[in-house]
């Protein structure tokens, strides 16, 4: 019977059909998905902080409304993804606890600080741009609820990227000081954005199995290359450069060559040594703890009303 179930699972995956919540699936598949989707959900939730930092200081009402909508979207994306983990038997409360106790990770990019308003634009353009590269193939991931969440997310990310690029175009039409601010921001975010695709394929421990299960559809290096190819013409149109002396078009490969990110820095940030790791988690913990009375009050209110209705 177990073999039969496993065979059906394998066939479904191989046929590029979707695995749905009540289907039988290997324990490893379930665990890998919960880990990956939770990490993704945590990234969306923690990702509200770097940009949220600028909401109260946005330079105009228009930019403020846009930024508010964007940060609200990140919250929404986190919720779609937590919802997907729950179809696998995960508990949302438990995932939040794991995040604030540092037992589950989120994308390292959010451990870098947002020093100027140009960072809001560069995050939209490069960080959300890299996220889109990662996420578009996930719309075809083998687990149905995850794929459906990704489709919704990708639609909304497109707004995020375009508002960022438009913000930067506006600044690049401004004073020299504003232009310098954009270039400085690009210099700080370029390498961390490249690191968002994860370690090189030669060092990525999860890739092979995830590709076989069709959870992942492309390798880290493939996606990184795609992102570089897409970004260079966008930088040229904007009038900024990337801080990589090795970046140049390779006629033979039909792609851009580029340098290697500082992987020591990457691992250091992953392990908690980034500029903002502690601050991000402390803030999330505080928000969770400060909100506990609201959760308790709402639950008590609902219980009281349910009792009244029961009595009537």
């Amino acid at each position: 019977m177990a073999d039969d179930l496993e065979l059906r699972f394998e066939r479904t995956v191989q046929a590029d059909s979707r695995i749905e919540p009540r289907d039988w699936m290997p324990d490893g598949y379930r665990k890998t998905l919960i880990r990956q989707i939770a990490q993704h959900a945590h990234s969306e939730i923690i990702g509200m902080q770097p940009e949220g930092n600028w909401i109260s200081r946005a330079p105009s009402l228009r930019r403020k409304a846009i930024l508010l909508a964007k940060v609200q979207d990140e919250a929404g994306h986190g919720l779609y993804l937590y919802s997907a983990t729950e179809t696998l038997g995960a508990d949302r409360e438990d995932l939040t606890t794991k995040l604030i106790e540092g037992r589950q990770k989120y994308s390292s990019i959010f451990n870098y600080p947002t020093l100027t308003f140009a960072d809001v634009g560069v995050i939209g353009w490069l960080v959300d741009g890299a996220a889109i590269c990662n996420q578009v193939p996930l719309c075809r991931t083998s687990y149905g609820p995850y794929a459906r969440a990704m489709i919704r997310i990708c639609k909304e990310e497109s707004f995020h990227q375009r508002q960022g690029y438009e913000l930067l175009m506006t600044m690049m039409r401004g004073t020299q000081q504003q232009k310098d601010m954009v270039q400085d921001s690009v210099n700080r975010w370029w390498w961390p954005a490249l690191m968002m695709f994860g370690p090189p394929d030669s060092e990525s421990t999860n890739t092979e199995q995830s590709m076989a299960w069709r959870i992942k559809r492309d390798t880290n290096d493939e996606l990184r290359q795609k992102f570089v190819n897409m970004s260079v013409p966008q930088a040229e149109a904007l009038g900024v450069t990337f801080p990589d002396p090795e970046l140049k078009w390779n006629e033979e490969r039909g792609q851009y060559d580029f340098g290697a990110p500082d992987w020591d820095e990457f691992w250091q940030v992953v392990k908690g040594g980034g500029v903002c790791n502690e601050q991000r988690i402390a803030h999330r913990r505080k928000a969770h703890e400060d909100g506990s009375w609201v959760r308790e009050a709402a639950a008590a209110h609902a219980q009281k009303h349910a009792q009244k209705e029961g009595a009537a």
């Binding site: 909508a69 929404g76 779609y80 179809t87 949302r92 709402a298 639950a299 209110h301 349910a306």
Partner: protein
């Protein structure tokens, strides 16, 4: 865990004339809050004109393990489909 809110499944009607379609789930203390949260989570861009929220615990579903026998009754009834019947090509509107 006494304070954790129950899970609700959310269904959205995209526009008039369409069925409600399942879009995901959320946690809320009661039905009214579930509706409000669903509006904020699932319809930030005019994705719907009507929302249903249903306690996840109230849904009864067919089991995927019974897939073959459960849906078998319709499997061998090809005569339920219009293509089962051959009609001469020169007969109009049929």
């Amino acid at each position: 865990m006494s304070t954790s809110w129950p899970l609700w499944e959310v269904f959205v009607r995209g526009k008039r004339g369409l069925n409600h379609v399942h879009v995901g789930s959320l946690h809320a203390p009661d039905a009214e809050m579930a509706l409000r949260n669903a509006r904020d989570v699932y319809t930030r861009r005019n994705e719907g004109v009507s929302i249903w929220v249903v306690p996840a615990a109230s849904i009864t579903a067919s089991s995927p393990d019974e897939k073959d026998p459960f849906f078998a009754p319709s499997g061998d009834k090809v005569y339920r489909h219009p293509t089962f019947y051959s009609i001469p090509e020169d007969v109009p509107h049929l």
